[in-house]
Each structure stands twice: as C-alpha cells, then as structure tokens.
Amino acid sequence: MTRSIRIALMLAGTIAGTAACHKKLPPAGAKTTPVTDTDAAARERARQDSIRRAEQARRDSIDRANRANQGTETPPGPTTRTVEEMRRILAQPVYFDLDKSDLTESSRAALDAKIEILRDKPEIKIRINGHTDDRGSDEYNLALGMRRAAATKEYLITHGIDASRFEVQSFGAEQPAAEGQNEEAWAKNRRCEFEIQGLK
C-alpha cells in the first residue's frame, strides 16, 4: 500500500472518529440507530488492521521476490561451491521499496551471500545495474536506478570489497523483469541486477 493511501485512510479514520464524538441529536420522532463509541472504535481497529495487512502484504511481496531468487536450501560454504552455484548467488537480484534506494533486510542478506564469495574470489568483477518500476517519470527513474546501484555498491564496499571491482549503471524503467500494473510486478522490477566477470 502506498504512503498516500495510508495517509488517506488514517485521515478518514480521524474524520470518522471526530464525527462520532460530535454527533448532532436526532430530531424528535426520527428513527435512528445510535452510533456508539464502541462501534467507532471497532471501525477504527478494523481500519488499522487493514492498513497493517496491506503493509505486510507489500513487505511480503518484496521478500517473496528476494526468496524466489535465493532458493530455499542453505547454500554450502564457499570452498565447496561449484562455479554454477557461485554464479547463481552472485547474480541474484536485490529488491527495493517504492522510490527508495535503502537496502531492505532481505536485500542485505542477499548481498552478504555475495560478499562471502567476492572475498574468496578477488578476480571476480561485477557490474551493478539499477532498475525501477514504471510508476515514476522515465527520466527520474534513470536517476533512481543509478542511486540504487550506487547504494548496493556502497554496501559491498563497506563490507571490505574493493571499489575497483564494481561498475554501476542504470536502466531506469527501460528493462522491466515483470510485465503488469500490480504490486507483484512492480516489486520484481524495483531491483539491482549483477553482471559477473572473471568467474571461472
């Protein structure tokens, strides 16, 4: 759920709550069903639950996108991995929130798995390609993709990998991984991809 919808729902909740506190008395003879504070509180709780559920669904979609590419099995240690296993781990995309370049918890976990291999294989170089979903403007998205690629590179550098091993590039919203105008597709498109060089 977007921030604007959350704010709108919270505002609606506030307005409804205010209305419940300042009810006008019904005219004499009018048949009315009294609205109790308990009803208003229940509605508010339902609204808050709805907001929490939507927020959780959005988080889950990002985590699902990350997990789908990470596999479910615990990877073997670096010394016993095959080249193909290392390539798969290094190439796993990392995913981002809407209009954000902050690394999520699951994205950091995916990068940590890469760091392990990069420390072990100093000959490997990587080009980090930033991508976005298509909800912002296309020119803005080019810049946002670059910011995501740079944030990803920064994380790898601060964990001891030499900056000279990375190049960054942005494709904005030009090369979507998934088609569709829904959160599931958007979550898959807000990503960094990794091109691997020197892995033998």
């Binding site: 977007t2 403007s137 020119e139 803005y140 910011r147 030009e174």
Partner: protein, 443 residues
C-alpha cells in the same frame, strides 16, 4: 469544432445575388465592438471560416488540409461543406460571392485559393464587409503531397490565422518522440502525417529540438552501455557530437540561443546533478545543481534563457523547481507541497507565462499548468495516465503522452478549451514528445 451546415436552397440563392461591395485590399480598423486583431470578432466566440474549392492540381487535398489545420488550431469554427455544395458557392464572375448566404452559414471569413506554377495563392474575404481582406502566395516545395509540399500548405494555413488573429497558427510544426522499448527517435507532423524514424543505431530517448530546428539532441545508449548526449542534424543519420560525464547522461535541453545544453549527469555515487556544456565543446561540463538533493533531472529553459525549471527530490518526493541558470535562487514552483504527490517533467511556455508539468493524482500522473506570475495551478487531464507535456509555439497547445485510449499514444491538448485529439496511432508506448519551433520559415 467543426460545424455542419446543410444548404437546401443554395442554387437559387446563388443565381439571385449581385455584388455591390467595393473591393478593398486593406483591412479597416474597427475598434467599436468586439476584439480588433485582424477581423472583428467577439471574445469567447470562435469566428466561422468557410474554405471554397481550391482550383488547380491537388486542390481537394489542399482544401482538406487547410480546413483540418484551422480546426486543429482551436480558434476558428470550420464550416464543412462537401465539394459539390462548396462548388455551388463559387460565383460565375470572379469575386462576386454571395456574402449573405455565406454569412447565414456562420462564416465570418471566406477563404479561396488556386494552384499554378508551383504556387498556392490564397485569398481571404471579410464576410461582414462583403469584400477582400488579405491575400498571399506560398511556394509549394518538393513533390506534390510529399512532406515538404504538405509543410508549405501548413504555412499557408498558419498565415491565414495570422491575418485573422495577429498570430500564426502552429500547423507548420513537427513533434519528436520515442517509444519505450523501441530505441529510435521519431518525428511526426503536427497533423499526424509523415511519421518516420530519425535515428538508426543505438537506443535513444528524451529528444530535444535545437532552437533553429536544424538538429536535435537525445540521450542515447551506444554499444558501450553508458547513456550519452547525442546531437544530430536532421539531414544526417549519425550524431555530429557525442558527450557524456559520469556514468549516465540523460534528459538534454537546448538553451534558447542554441549554444548550450543542460542535462542530467549521474555519478558513481548515485547523485544526479544538472550540468551545462557548450554544444560541440570537448571541455568539462559545469555543475548547476551542485549535489543539492540526490536527483535533479528533466530540465527546461525559460524563453529568455535566464532561468531553468527542473525536477528535484531535495524535498523528498520529486517536485518542480525554478532557479537561475547557474542554479542559484532555487524556489519550488508548485504552491501545494503534498507529501506524496510527485511533480515532474516541466516545460516552460514560449510566452514565458506558464509551466506545464505532470503531477500524481490518486497514483496516476495528470497534466497541470502553473501560472508563473501568481503561482496558481490548473489540472487539465483526469482520464488515464497523462504525462510529459511539451508546449507548442503558440503557448496554447500541449503535446502529451496519454494512456486514455490504451497503450500510451501522443495527444494534443488545447489548454484553453480542454479539447484533445490523438496525434499518433501506429505502435504503442509513445513518450517524451517535444514540439518543434515554428518551421514555416525553413527552406
């Protein structure tokens, strides 16, 4: 809008009239009522215009084009008559028009024309005064019905509007654009004709006109992978100048004198700044936004070249800012800073008065125009996703990318009436249109 008029007694009327009005080669100043620009007309009422059959080669095509241009200009009400009914209004004696019948049809302006010797002669008549108003001759360039020939007819249409309103129409213009996922820059006439690609190699987007309309800039990704600024002459199929800084160079805009390009330059640290460079220069670009905010992009110049308008996220969500051309004195354009509303892709109108941009409404982009003087804003669209506005030379029409009919096409939006017409029909995912300067004075 085109009005339809049925003539039942035209033949009778034509045989019954006699011309009594004196021929008068010059418009008289009539300032008593209504608006005096060329002809007299009332504020808020679009004068009616009737185009009679054009004599000579391809006269029917010329008449159709003139009528369509007048209609698309949104300042005239075009009286549509089929050829037979229109022909019945042509008098046996030259100049002896039945003005009373023509006036009854709602026409205040009568236009006639003829083609001979590669030239289109056009004459206009003031129906109220029952006499000639203005006339002109226009060379028909290139092959009949070809792009240059059609542009010549558009020039004539624009000039007729100039006679009437004191300002030219915008028929003799073209629009550059690209299609997402396609990679080429395309050009199309303002009436939707002559669509063709102007780039071949590479993947390009964000085309911008050079002010002299001889060349254009675009952001293109070559074989090396990095996006760079290209400047290409229309007469060539390859760029004459390629420039880049940092990791990615995008969203170019020419200064009004054509000497400078500003564009968005992204560094490896993820910051995107606006920078400026002399066109053709091999030197370094000068920073404009100097790392104020993480993202600065989509610049456009004010018509006097002294200021720029652009998108920046220095307040968090992207907003439209104005600053001096060197980046000093930045101020936010939009009067309302709503936390989640993104405002991007601004364009400054040629008359300096307005800035068009896109802003999210309910999660979709819509077109807005802000009056620069009082900062008041007006929402112009609400159907589908509408974005990337670019002003026509008349500062009245915008070309936009819109999903109102399905996958994004280009549409022309009249900011005064709200009327829209579809410009492109082939393919999908049209975007980032750029409306040319007036092309009528080009050879």
């Amino acid at each position: 809008m085109i009005s339809r008029f049925t003539i039942r007694t035209l033949g009778t009327a034509l045989t019954a009239f006699a011309l009594g009005a004196p021929l008068n080669g010059h418009a008289q100043d009539t300032t008593t009522k209504g608006v005096r620009i060329g002809l007299r007309y009332d504020v808020g009422v679009k004068p009616g215009i009737l185009v009679l059959p054009i004599n000579g080669a391809n006269g029917d095509s010329i008449r159709t084009m003139l009528m369509r241009d007048f209609d698309y200009g949104d300042r005239l009400t075009v009286i549509t008559l089929d050829s037979a009914n229109a022909a019945a209004l042509v008098p046996a004696s030259p100049g002896a028009y039945n003005y009373s019948v023509i006036a009854q049809m709602g026409a205040q302006v009568l236009v006639t024309g003829s083609v001979s010797g590669g030239e289109l002669k056009v004459e206009s008549f003031d129906v109220a005064k029952a006499g000639p108003y203005q006339r002109g001759a226009f060379a028909l360039r290139g092959d009949a019905l070809g792009p240059d020939w059609r542009m010549s007819v558009h020039v004539a249409a624009d000039e007729v509007e100039n006679w009437i309103f004191g300002s030219r129409g915008v028929a003799a213009t073209r629009i550059l654009f690209d299609r997402k996922g396609d990679g080429k820059i395309y050009i199309i006439d303002s009436d939707g004709a002559n669509e063709r690609a102007v780039t071949r190699a590479g993947t390009c987007m964000s085309a911008a006109w050079a002010p002299n309309a001889q060349s254009f800039a675009a952001a293109c990704t070559g074989s090396g992978g990095a996006m760079r600024i290209h400047v290409q002459d229309f007469k060539s199929s390859t760029p004459r100048w390629v420039h880049s800084t940092g990791s990615l160079s995008a969203a170019p805009a020419f200064s009004p004198d054509g000497s400078t390009i500003i564009y968005a330059s992204s560094d490896d640290d993820g910051v995107t700044d606006l920078v400026s460079i002399g066109v053709g220069s091999s030197g370094a670009a000068h920073s404009i936004t100097a790392k104020r905010g993480g993202i600065n992009t989509s610049p456009a110049f004010s018509p006097d070249g002294q200021r720029i308008v652009f998108t920046t996220d220095r307040l968090g969500t992207p907003q439209v800012y104005i600053s001096n051309v060197d980046g000093t004195s930045p101020e936010v354009l939009s009067e309302l800073i709503t936390g989640t509303s993104q405002k991007t892709n601004p364009d400054w109108s040629p008359d300096s008065r307005s800035i068009a941009y896109q802003s999210t409404v309910g999660g979709e982009f819509q077109i807005f125009v802000t009056n620069v003087r009082d900062n008041s804003s007006k929402q112009l669209t609400s159907e589908g996703r509408n974005q990337e506005p670019s002003w026509a030379p008349d500062s009245r029409h915008l070309v936009i990318a819109s999903s109102r009919s399905g996958p994004s096409q280009l549409w022309v939006l009249d900011t005064e009436s709200g009327r829209v017409r579809q410009l492109t029909r082939r393919g999908a995912n049209h975007r980032l249109p750029a409306w040319s300067p007036y092309l009528g004075s080009q050879k």
